[in-house]
């Protein structure tokens, strides 16, 4: 198929940036979206132009790097997938596809479609961990009884890959789905209890410090999240914060 691409080009963090039109021809519907981008970049390199910079790593939906806002949606029009898992069969011959970087004041553009998501790392460092004695007498995790229900919910929360689609999609650039998932994955398990209060207080404080917005429960994040992280995790984070603040 033949496509017109409207892509955000920005030389570096301090330049202004603009949408630029490109044409790509003979794109197979079996290609992934990133393979289509590779075709474009090869074309650009061959004609001596600067290729479009975009983040990617695993190309199988587990690293969360491939941040692209495609036709007005994070990771494009398909559900439950990252950009690297998005197939060109979702588009038609002759389509115009708009491709932008993830937008949020806390995710500044570094170049073209690449954004700085270190804010997520700093939130994680503020409390997204448990302290374990690894001196050789570590208790086997399987020896701690955990209900199936709690284990399932914790596992669901832990599937968050930190891609930032929730922030990119949110009309308020709120990071609460991400932070909710990270708080929940520990809050649901016995190993997470010791540091539970400090964890939620510190992670929420860091989230606010980074300049993410306020959740207004539109639910857009849950729909666009490639891992199907549920809003339920935001409600749990709110409960955890109340528990920690009023005890």
């Amino acid at each position: 198929m033949n496509l017109t691409l409207k892509i955000w080009r920005q030389k570096d963090a301090s330049s202004k940036g603009q949408m630029v039109n490109y044409k790509v021809n003979d794109i197979s519907e079996h290609m992934s979206f990133l393979e289509m981008m590779d075709v474009l970049n090869e074309q650009l390199v061959n004609s001596g132009e600067e290729p479009v910079a975009f983040d990617h790593d695993c190309r199988e939906g587990i690293c969360g790097m491939c941040s692209m806002y495609i036709n007005g949606e994070a990771h494009g029009p398909d559900r439950g997938v990252t950009t690297c898992q998005l197939h060109m069969r979702m588009f038609k011959d002759g389509d115009t596809i708009t491709i932008e970087p993830f937008r949020a004041a806390a995710f500044p553009v570094i170049k073209d479609l690449v954004v700085d998501r270190m804010a997520f790392e700093r939130i994680q460092q503020a409390g997204g961990y448990i302290s374990v004695n690894t001196s050789g007498n570590t208790q086997d995790a399987n020896s701690i009884p955990i209900s199936k229900h709690a284990a399932d919910e914790a596992m669901d929360a832990a599937t968050c890959i930190g891609c930032g689609a929730c922030v990119a999609t949110c009309k308020n650039s709120s990071a609460m789905l991400f932070v909710g998932a990270k708080v929940s994955q520990y809050a649901l398990l016995p190993q997470g209890q010791v540091e539970a209060s400090d964890r939620v207080l510190n992670m929420v404080a860091q989230m606010d410090l980074e300049g993410f917005g306020n959740c207004t429960n539109t639910g857009a994040c849950e729909v666009e999240c490639p891992k199907g992280i549920s809003l339920e995790n935001i409600a749990r984070m709110n409960r955890e914060l109340m528990k920690a603040s009023f005890k």
Binding site: A105, N172, S173, V204, G211, F212, N214
Partner: protein, 220 residues
């Protein structure tokens, strides 16, 4: 604890609590007003009670005023903060793909409700305060029904109230369930809140509209 209400989540919880109080107040308000459709006397008795009971006048009324002011001031503050958090907006954004129109436009439905509230205050509350506390006219327990009916004679006011309540309905379509989500109610109950929310968002504003229309046409 003071840190809680400075956090983004704490503010959301406070916002939801103020909204829950406002929704509780709407039920009371509607219950009193709806009696005017059935019986002049019951409406007068109920209004006289609400207008003279000290608990209602000096405890509930200040709480209500604080609740309304807190709700819309915080609504505007959070909206401004959120716009700052967004920064550069998308060239193409498909909000309809993942969320309802009501949920994305709470600030606008809220702003229209605020305009309505200002008019409503000028219509009923200011004359009431003037009657009781400025002119200090002795209480006539039978005055309320006539005052109410008189207000709904002009069609423009009936139209304005109807529009105001349509915006309230849109606000509550998202707001009702959003408030329970904000205070952290678990999802097992979510379905119930969604259904209750829809019923509440339709029945309550519709009740007020019916009252205005009833008195308008009943007096023609």
């Amino acid at each position: 604890m003071s840190g809680f209400f400075k956090s983004s989540i704490g503010r959301k919880v406070a916002m939801a609590l103020s909204a829950l109080f406002l929704m509780f107040f709407l039920i009371i308000h509607l219950s009193v007003n709806i009696t005017s459709v059935f019986s002049k006397d019951i409406f007068n008795v109920a209004s006289h009670f609400m207008g003279t009971n000290w608990l209602i006048q000096f405890i509930m009324q200040p709480v209500l005023i604080f609740g309304v002011v807190y709700h819309f001031v915080m609504g505007f503050v959070l909206e401004l903060k959120n716009r700052k958090a967004v920064g550069i907006t998308y060239a193409k954004n498909n909000g309809a793909a993942n969320s309802t129109w009501m949920s994305r436009n709470m600030i606008y439905s809220g702003a229209f409700i605020l305009i309505f509230l200002v008019i409503h205050f000028l219509d009923f509350w200011i004359p009431e305060v003037k009657y009781k506390y400025i002119d200090v006219i002795p209480e006539d327990p039978n005055r309320y029904y006539e005052e109410l009916v008189h207000k709904f004679v002009p069609i423009w006011r009936v139209a304005l109230y109807t529009i105001g309540f349509i915006f309230l309905s849109l606000h509550l379509m998202h707001g009702f369930k959003s408030a329970f989500q904000s205070i952290g109610i678990p999802s097992i109950r979510k379905k119930i809140f969604q259904t209750c929310g829809k019923i509440f968002a339709i029945v309550v504003p519709l009740g007020f509209i019916v009252i205005a229309l009833f008195h308008h046409f009943n007096n023609h």
